[in-house]
Amino acid sequence: MTALSHYSAFALARRALFGSKWQRAWRKPDPRPAYDVVIVGGGGHGLATAYYLAARHGITKVAVLERGYLGSGNVGRNTTLVRSNYQMPGNTEFFEHSLKLWEGLSHELNFNVMLSQRGQLVLAHGPGQLDVLARKGNTMRLNGIDCELFDRPDVQRFLPFLDYSKSCRFPIYGGLFQPRAGTVRHDAVAWGYARAADRLGVDIIENCEVTGFLRDGAAVNGVETSRGRIHAGRTLISVAGHSSHLARLVGLRLPIESHLLQAFVTEPIKPFLDCVLSFGAELFYISQSDKGGMVFGGHIDGFNSYTQRGQFPKVRTVAECAVALIPGMSRLRLLRHWAGIQDMTPDGSPFMGRTPLRNLYFNGGWCYQGFKATPAAGWCMAHALAHDEEHPFIRHLALDRFERGNGSDEYGLGLWTYKQ
C-alpha cells in the first residue's frame, strides 16, 4: 500500500512547480476472504459509515462493496442541499447533528466538499402556512438551531425577483430562513469519505455486485458477490433505491417502494439566487450552483420504478413551479435532467438499525432526505455496527415501527408511501 499524500496548499504549489503526478485517491484492492464489517453499497452513506467505523470506533477491517463505480448512485444524483429544519422528536436532533458534521467535514476528511452555507428560505403562501412555519421555527430554536421568521416585506427585500404581483396565483406571505443551511459539492462527499476511509485501511471494492447472503440460521455471516464469497462479522445493507431488492435476497420484505425523483439544471447564468429557496405551494426547491446553473427538483414521478429515467409531465410541472415563483426564469433553457431511484417509506422517514436477522443491519428508506443526512447516517450506523445497538438519535427509526404503530410522520401527510 502506497502512502497517500495529504492535500494542502503546499502540496498543490509543489505539484504546480515540479509537475509530479497526483496519486490515486484510494486503492483498488481485491476482496479479502473475510472482514469484521462488510458494507453493501458504496454511496455516501456506506462510505461515511466505513469512515466513522475506522475513525471513531477503531474498526478498520472493513469492506465497502459497490456494484458500479463510486458516486454512480444517488450521492451523485441529488440537488446537494443540506439543512436541519425538522420538527419531529429525533429528526430535529439527527439532522442538526448532520449539519454540524457537514460544517467540519472538509477539515476532517482533508478534502474540500465545498460546503456553502448560503441559507435556506422556505416560503409560506397563506397565514395558516406561516403559522406552521413559525411553529417549526420555535421547535428548531428550542433545540438550539438558529432560524428567522420573515414576513412579506422581509422576503421582498431579500429576494426582490420573486413574483409579488397582484395576479400571483400563490402570493407570498413570508417564510422561515435557516442561515446555516446550504449546499455541498456532492461528488466530493463520496470521494472525500472514500479517500479518508481508505487511508485508515478500509477496502473499497468497486464493480462488485452482491448476489446473495450467507445465512447461518437466523444470522447473516457474509455475502456472495460477483467477485467471490466474502465472510463478515457484521453486514450492513446501505443501498438507496435498491433496498427491497437486496432485502429480498436475504428473505426480508420491507415497508418501502422505489420511486423516481428527477432533478434539473439550467444553462449557467451570472450569480442570481444566493440562497436555497423552497416553494410552499408545491414541492419545489432551487439553488444556483457555483458554475451558475439553476439546480432544482420537485416531487417523485408518482409510481414505482427502477428505470432512472423520469417522465416528461413532471418536467413540465417542475418548470411551471419555477416560473410561478421566479418569473425571470421563463427563458432559461434546461441543460440536463436526470432521475434517481429512491426508497419511499410510509411516513417519509428512513429505517436505520438492526434487522430481525442477527449481524445484519439496515440503512435505507431515505425518501427525499438522504444526501443531507449522509454524515449523521454514517455516524449512527457506525455506532450500530460497533455496539450492536441503535444510537439515541435513531431509536425512533426502527424497521418494525409500523408494526408497533409508531410511524414518524414528519410532514403530517398520513402513512402513505407515494404521498410523502
Binding site: 427491497s244 431488492h245 415497508p255 420504478s305 428505470t307 416528461f312 409500523f402 407515494y418
Partner: protein
C-alpha cells in the same frame, strides 16, 4: 411518456390515471383483528425490480379501476384488465 392501455378507452397517457399500488396483495377479511395481517397488507411491499401487477384508476377517462402489468426495471407495459376481474383475468 408512459402510456397505459385502458380496456375501455384504449392507449392513454399515464397522467390521466391515478396510481394505486401493488395489485397482488390479498386484503385481509373484514373484521380480521390480527395486526400482523393488516400490517403486511397496508405497509409492506414486494417492490420487485421486474414484472409488477398494479392498480390504476382512469380518473380522467372512464373512471374504472384496472390492473396493469408493467416491468418496473424498463417501464414496459403489458396487458391490462378491469380490477373487478381480479388479480388475474
Amino acid at each position: 411518456m408512459l402510456r397505459i392501455p385502458c380496456p375501455h378507452c384504449g392507449l392513454r397517457d399515464y397522467t390521466e390515471f391515478r396510481y394505486a399500488g401493488d395489485a397482488t396483495k390479498p386484503r385481509p377479511a373484514h373484521g380480521t383483528g390480527e395486526q400482523r395481517a393488516w400490517y403486511e397488507y397496508v405497509f409492506v411491499f414486494d417492490n420487485p425490480k421486474g414484472p409488477h401487477l398494479e392498480y390504476w384508476q382512469h380518473v380522467e377517462g372512464c373512471r374504472q379501476w384496472l390492473v396493469l402489468e408493467r416491468d418496473t426495471s424498463t417501464n414496459t407495459v403489458g396487458q391490462s384488465w378491469l380490477a373487478r376481474q381480479g388479480a388475474k383475468p
